[in-house]
């Protein structure tokens, strides 16, 4: 660190212009915080009374105007689990390559970085188009032609295609978070391990990755939270309005909390009757994604603090 005089140490009595500026920017901050509070508040107030064991454990009834949302919870969990199994290893490996193996001036690493950055900026609906055009119409259809005699088995919206589409969407989240964590592992640890005779891969596996675990977990949690809340990419790749059964195979369709909210909000013939259910579903979805986010934020804060202390 450079020996810099902290700005705060120079005390100058704020004049009118200063005060106005501080007031205005402070107000802007307050408004953004209020946006967060008002969404949370409205959903919690609206949904709290609906939450019950029945709501969480039962299937929808009577044209989705009664009953619970268990199939949607189940589908969301299954979807994000599958997604994580693909996205986390792929993301961690990418980050390991970028920060441990790639030479400093590597062209390839630059291209990978550009691709990751662009992947993060692709609109989620485009991922939906891609999932439909690639996974279902091409890969799935190909599997059907080869293995199932043209019988539509994998060439249709399925759990596996939705999960893979989401895995690509959340890949940047894992990569960015893991890379940040890997970078914060002190060089001395690597050098020490190598000096003791460990190979590079052993060093990465036994020294670097365990040290970076906090950051990797943050990335994984953020990815799960993001994946659990996305609707646009799964609309055409596997989510179903209503299913009388739970998905048990990779090529089954599934219900999903976010999609359920969309369906109830737009397709219901009687919005007033479904409104409590809608609030309940939104609250469950929000609790799920929000809790994960809070955990991620806390883990990251701790991790950063520890890393700062280690330096």
């Amino acid at each position: 660190m450079t020996i810099a005089v902290k700005t705060g140490q120079i005390r100058r009595r704020p004049n009118v212009a200063d005060r106005t500026l501080i007031g205005l920017t402070g107000l802007a901050t307050l408004i953004i915080l209020a946006m967060l509070a008002v969404v949370l508040g409205d959903v919690i107030i609206g949904g709290w009374s609906v939450l019950s064991w029945h709501f969480l454990s039962e299937a929808p009834r009577d044209g989705m105007t009664k009953g619970g949302i268990f199939p949607a919870i189940f589908g969301t969990v299954a979807l994000t689990l599958l997604m994580t199994i693909v996205a986390v290893p792929a993301g961690v490996a990418t980050a390991v390559y970028l920060s441990e193996y790639a030479p400093a001036d590597s062209r390839l690493a630059r291209v990978i970085r550009i691709c990751i950055a662009n992947l993060a900026g692709v609109p989620s609906i485009v991922f939906g188009l891609f999932g439909l055009g690639f996974f279902i119409a091409t890969v799935g259809h190909g599997i059907d032609t080869v293995a199932y005699g043209g019988q539509p088995t994998y060439g249709k919206p399925s759990l596996i295609w939705a999960a893979l589409t989401l895995a690509i969407l959340t890949l940047p989240v894992v990569v960015v978070s893991t890379e940040e964590a890997l970078k914060s592992v002190p060089r001395e640890l690597r050098d020490g391990s190598l000096a003791l005779g460990a190979t590079k891969f052993q060093t990465i596996l036994r020294v670097v990755l365990p040290q970076a675990l906090g950051g990797i977990m943050t990335g994984g949690i953020l990815a799960v939270s993001r994946g659990a809340g996305e609707v646009a990419p799964i609309m055409f790749t596997g989510a179903a309005y209503f299913l009388p059964y739970l998905p048990t195979h990779l090529n089954d369709q599934f219900m999903n909390l976010g999609y359920h909210v969309y369906v109830l909000a737009t397709q219901s013939p009687d919005v007033d009757r479904t409104k409590p259910l809608l609030y309940g579903t939104v609250l469950v979805l929000l609790l799920l994604t929000f809790m994960l986010n809070i955990v991620a934020v806390v883990v990251r804060a701790r991790f950063r603090k520890r890393m700062a202390a280690a330096r």
Partner: protein, 326 residues
């Protein structure tokens, strides 16, 4: 650095077990190869998205079968009898995409108009004025706003914001460009905030101390020194926020009213490019003209966000290099 130390490893293990060194070398190579292979997935994904969205979009330009129903010209020029109309499901389907793009532009402008002052202001406050203790809560809280799923914000806009907007602005239609734009601001603010905050943080402390030492007030320091220095980064933040806004789907699907009208009135319902794809692709016949037109819309969307993001990232990159940051 590290490479000089690795060469010592085989030398050390050689005397004790001769086969081991070779085996270790092979494991190392295989491991590195696998890691490299997996990290190519990101490149592959971008290419596959380009190829497979492009593949379904291109028939709009080249397929005579599609041209029997719609030509690229007809997608931008007005219909003689109906003007600028998007009505793909009717006896004579109409595919004019201008109302959709104007719709997207309308909500995006509303969203930016709201979120640019708010999030740049908040970034300035957090970076320059906030007490340190407050800063540690404000930043994660705004990050949490980014973690709210867009379908939840869309729902909130549909049920709550729409009522408020109708009460305040007295608009005729409950769901309109204003409601969708305000909803969109919830998603755009965190993006602009965090990139602007990074930009402000990248301004070296010496700029601040020098300006203050020369006798400027805090507002002069901010307006004449810090903001100009961080301007490219803040511009990038706005560009990235724009990219986020035009690509957002669920908020506009729920809150915009979804009527493809071509006018400048913010109180009217609109239909965006993303919402059109989301609502129509589910019901469309695979391989029909309508299907290909929807993919063409997706391709246009993909290319425009790609362009926007490349520009944004470049500005951020250059600014970091100039400031000597990471």
């Amino acid at each position: 650095m590290a490479s000089t130390t690795t060469t010592a490893v085989p030398a050390m293990s050689r005397p004790s077990r001769p086969g081991l060194a070779r085996r270790i070398r092979w494991t190392e190579r295989i491991a590195e190869g696998l890691v490299l292979l997996v990290s190519l997935v990101s490149i592959l994904s971008v290419l596959l998205i380009l190829i497979f969205v492009g593949k379904e979009a291109l028939p709009v330009l080249f397929s005579p079968e599609v041209h029997r129903e719609v030509t690229p010209g007809a997608m931008v020029l007005p219909y003689a009898d109906a003007g600028y109309m998007w009505q793909p499901v009717s006896d004579v389907p109409k595919y004019n995409i201008l109302p959709l793009f104007v719709g997207t532009l309308k909500v995006t402008l509303v969203a930016l108009f709201v979120s640019v002052p708010l999030s740049v202001g908040a970034a300035v406050y957090v970076c320059e004025f906030a007490p340190r203790a407050a800063r540690e809560y404000i930043k994660p809280a705004i990050e949490l706003l980014a973690g709210i799923p867009s379908v939840v914000i869309g729902f909130f806009a549909l049920i709550v914001l729409a009522t408020w907007v109708q009460r305040v602005f007295g608009v005729e239609h409950r769901l309109n460009a204003l409601v969708a734009g305000f909803g969109l601001a919830f998603a755009v603010c965190p993006v602009i905030f965090s990139v602007s905050e990074d930009a402000l943080r990248a301004v070296p402390d010496s700029y601040r101390t020098a300006a203050l030492a020369l006798g400027s007030t805090r507002s002069q320091t901010l307006l004449r020194v810090i903001l100009p220095a961080a301007a490219p980064g803040i511009a990038a933040a706005i560009v990235l926020g724009f990219g986020r806004a035009i690509g957002e789907t669920m908020i506009v699907v729920l809150a915009s009213g979804n009527a493809a009208l071509l006018d400048a009135d913010l109180g009217h319902s609109i239909r965006t490019v993303t919402a059109t794809i989301a609502q129509e692709l589910g019901e469309v016949v695979v391989g029909s003209a309508h299907y290909h037109v929807l993919f063409a819309l997706g391709a246009l969307l993909f290319l425009s966000t790609l362009g926007v993001n490349v520009v944004g990232e470049r500005i951020v990159f250059r600014m970091r290099r100039r400031m000597g940051g990471p």
